[in-house]
Symmetry: C2
């Protein structure tokens, strides 16, 4: 009888459950989705997930004794508790959680002893280095100078995860890699142009206010109010539609894309002046734009980075939507 690992990625709307076997990791044998209900302080979330796990075991004919462990990724800071090995979730605003011992609770609910909890971006960063796009760097560099990777996800917000020498850097309050909350003042002319036109936008705010998918949409929408653009008639505008319009030559979309590159690269340069990582791995929805996006970001990064660290490597994340589940499960595979 083979052994299995469960990887769970808890998001604001759904929790994704992935079943892995040790032999074929990181291939996912079966996936499930469980709705996350943040009501009443998020107290239904873990019981709902436990029910989903039970169901999955029944359907697949698996006994819990065959599970080596459950890895859980959460969208919030994770801190080290007072007991050796204990981790605690340190507030997940969009799940309704305060400080919560997710590992112990899920262990109790499922009867599976080993549960580890990690911040979702940190988990994804670990996943990319163990079995994703950074794996070859780790293998090439060997043991005496090891890889520091900063994974950055561009989606609704900007998430960040840091892995150094195979270890996640969590930070004293679980906030290491929370780079989306760096305060910045973009220097791109679009900002002044929009303000002059009367747009309701901030000139100084969180990095993710400007350089996330939400930021791209915000600036495209505001721009379309004041300037001629094909985006004006775009009803369900996403970052994808803005990039699409830019490729078709729409002047506003081109400017918004340029604003995004410029501002995103500026933020990464600040991260590099602190940590000087070997590689930035770019993930999240917007990273679907591919190599062209990577080129735009790298060019802007070089403009703002310290002269001795302009040659930092950039890669696209390889694990896609499954990164959270895979990264969460990695500790039981390593």
């Amino acid at each position: 009888m083979s052994n299995y690992i469960l990887g769970i990625d808890i998001g604001g709307t759904t929790a994704k459950l992935g079943l892995f076997s040790e032999e074929h990791f990181p291939e996912i044998i079966v996936k499930r989705s469980v709705k996350t209900r943040p009501d009443d302080g998020g107290k239904y979330i873990l019981p709902d997930i436990a029910e989903g796990i039970k169901q999955l075991f029944e359907d697949e004919g698996i006994d819990k004794s065959q599970i080596d462990g459950i890895g859980v990724g959460v969208p919030g800071p994770v801190i080290i508790g007072d007991r050796p090995g204990q981790t605690l979730v340190n507030k997940c605003v969009n799940l309704g959680w305060g400080v919560k011992d997710v590992a112990s609770e899920l262990s109790e609910l499922t009867g599976i002893e080993k549960v580890v909890v990690e911040n979702d971006a940190n988990a994804a960063a670990l996943g990319e280095i163990i079995c994703g796009s950074v794996r070859d760097m780790a293998e090439k560099i060997g043991t005496y100078r090891k890889v520091t990777e900063v994974l950055v996800t561009i989606g609704t917000g900007i998430g960040g995860g840091i892995v150094r020498d195979g270890q996640i850097i969590r930070g004293v309050f679980g906030c290491a890699g929370e780079i989306g909350h760096i305060k910045i003042a973009p220097q791109h002319p679009l900002l002044a142009k929009l303000r002059a036109a009367g747009a309701d936008i901030n000139t100084f705010d969180d990095y993710e206010y400007f350089a996330s998918a939400t930021g791209i949409i915000r600036f495209a929408r505001e721009g379309a109010k004041f300037f001629e653009s094909s985006l004006r008639d775009c009803e369900n505008m996403g970052a994808r539609e803005v990039f699409e319009a830019a490729r078709e030559g729409d002047a506003l979309a081109l400017e918004v894309r340029d604003f995004f590159y410029d501002t995103f690269g500026m933020g990464l340069a600040a991260v590099a002046s602190t940590l000087d990582p070997d590689v930035f791995t770019i993930g999240g929805g917007v990273s679907g734009e591919g190599p062209l996006l990577l080129g735009g970001i790298r060019e802007s990064y070089r403009r703002y980075a310290f002269h001795a660290s302009t040659e930092t490597e950039f890669r696209l994340a390889a694990l896609g939507n499954d990164a959270g589940m895979i990264g969460a499960a990695v500790p039981f595979y390593m």
Copy 2:
């Protein structure tokens, strides 16, 4: 016969040599100063230092066989070389050096086998955690959650050194902790006021352009051109004179001090959103202003930091002007 360690702190104008004994570390037995000559690609610097070491040995009646090792701090990035254990200086602009194997060269010049080279701020950060102001934290926290310290020196520029779990974080290009080169746009009203008055200042530049001693002097000087201030007649203005004038109630000095606090705290918040350290240790000339300075910085930091990491600890560096020598020598004491 007792054993000794040499700690050398190479700066732009002088190299400081400190002799330590293993028993009384970090007490300095004797100090020497050697002028640094950056001429001709800085080729005289190491021979001059070697000559200073020889002299010191003669005067103190020490044989080189009694030296356990030489630790060298340099004002530039240090990278890991291709040979195990090898470090290389990766350009020291103000010493005239390119990529240079300082350890091997100094070893050859002195006949002392063990020479280790480290970035000066990294060395100082290590010194503070081993035998300075952060020592008690390291001891209290114990082994399973260890200390991450960011040492920040406020002087001519802003230097930074990072130690995590007793190990220096160097970065792939030796640029980790080069936080003085983070690009920022201060949000303090003084900036707009000075620009409106016609002052020749940038609104977006390196962190150290604004928030170093040089920055304090720059903004005080520019301000005194346009606004009434006791600083107008100050001939040899240093950061100390500006803080002094602020304590005496000078309106411009108060505003410059407030600008400094605000901008300095903003930069540290960016660092914390990347690394979320246990403690910021504040050193360098300006840190001589003491606890009041620390209070001003902490207040501003809290304004800009991510909500979950506002309670980061702040300490004043304890090792003062000797920090460089002590920190450089630490590897032979640990």
